[in-house]
Symmetry: C2
Subunit: 265 residues, 2 copies
């Protein structure tokens, strides 16, 4: 078995992969989320991708991958996100902090409290730690595993604004979704036309069957500004499959899979 995730080593995706890997399961690291989708399809392996964070919102690259490739969702994971302030130096000696822009946003209160220190944005939490390990008088906002990997000392832990900061990850596998009766399903609504009231009509189909939507997120359809597709997650109940049939009468629908929440032990 092989598991594809977003690298480099030390990212939150890697930390989750380490927790959920099966015995002897190999972890393959890819530089972008799009590369994880490609690996899942070409090597027929499972992949783990982040889909939304409770502070920063939806992950566009993952939603686009679900829309554009023939991957299905087979499970979801919820991972508490803990940010660490780390350095090889004491707090007084630090003049620059490396941080990923999303981590900056998620730790903005703590970072604003530090005076006269400049912030430099990086491409990943692992990259922030790597920079802090090599640049004199620098520190990083990063993960616990990246701090260990680069031999940095923890100056302060849990510097995130919200202590319940959580990222939801999806497990994806190659192939078209097979409907079943698991707890939750995801679909993407691809409107054939841009008419007033269409979204209202779509939500009405769910509402009349008492189906609870847990999330709705719009994404550009890539056909020009003002054109959207809608990702909808919902809890299944008896007869939910007829909902899909009814939806398909009024709009384009791509089924993304039905799945269960799994614990990241």
């Amino acid at each position: 078995m092989t598991l594809a995730v977003l690298g480099p080593k030390g990212t939150f995706s890697c930390e989750l992969a380490e927790k959920i890997r099966e015995e002897h399961e190999e972890i393959l690291l890819y530089p972008t989320i799009r590369d994880v989708f490609t690996a899942v399809l070409e090597k027929n392996i499972r992949g783990i991708v982040p889909v939304e964070n409770s502070e920063a919102g939806g992950v566009g690259e993952t939603l686009d991958g679900l829309l554009q490739t023939e991957c299905s969702i087979t499970a979801e994971y919820y991972m508490p996100i803990r940010h660490f302030f780390v350095s090889r130096y004491g707090t007084d000696e630090i003049s620059v902090i490396y941080t990923h822009p999303q981590s900056h946003e998620q730790c903005s209160v703590f970072l604003r409290s530090l005076k006269n220190i400049s912030l430099i944005h990086t491409s990943s939490n692992a990259q922030s730690a790597k920079e802090a390990a090599s640049v004199q008088g620098s520190a990083a906002v990063t993960t616990e595993s990246a701090a260990k990997l680069y031999g940095l000392s923890i100056l302060k832990k849990d510097i995130q604004n919200a202590q319940n900061n959580t990222t939801r990850f999806l497990e994806i596998t190659a192939g078209v979704s097979k409907p079943n009766d698991l707890e939750k399903c995801s679909v993407v609504i691809i409107p054939r036309e841009n008419r007033p009231g269409l979204l209202y009509g779509i939500l009405g189909i769910f509402a009349r069957r008492g189906i609870n939507l847990t999330r709705i997120e719009s994404r550009p359809s890539k056909e020009g500004i003002g054109r959207y597709v809608f990702f909808i997650d919902f809890e299944t109940n008896r007869g939910w499959q007829e909902t899909i049939t009814e939806l398909k009468e009024i709009t384009g629908v791509k089924e993304l899979g039905c799945y269960r929440k799994k614990e990241a032990a």
Copy 2:
């Protein structure tokens, strides 16, 4: 008059600001969108912020700024987005390309066609140009103005996947929105509770009055995973103000302003 925008010099925000500035109007550059909101409030000036792109989707920092500060929307602008492939070297001599992650996504087809060249992500399109101007054998994906600013030659223009790639920008000013009868209004729905069918009920209020929604986008409420607020843009018609009154009976609503589309001459 003063105009606050996202810097550094050479970003798309700057290019728009140069086009729409009034005579003698000074442009102030800020390192983050959040800083633009703060400047608008503290200096009582107008600001320009990107809110959505036809390929990459919504700009979370701008939506959060609208939700969390007392700024109102006073106009919208649509700017065609053109990406340029630039370097001090010939195509054969290039071994590395600097690109902002969103520009990478928006130019993915062209970038994939280049073989054996590594990509390095940066924090802005201007930063990409700056790196390409100083690192041997490198190139950048950037704006036309940044290419000029750093003296880089254009190897290929319009390398974006979609030729109709467009970013929508908002003009913001300090103060609470005063309802008026301009073409378009924006509100954010802040649900007081997480009950099934609430969003359906909200869209019904618009639908029954024949009001056309031009956009709906969810954002995390920052109160934990699975809790959202909804940004809604709609076209005004006679009696739209009663819609707001009706909405307020069932949910929290923050009015973000009514405005008109302006041309970026």
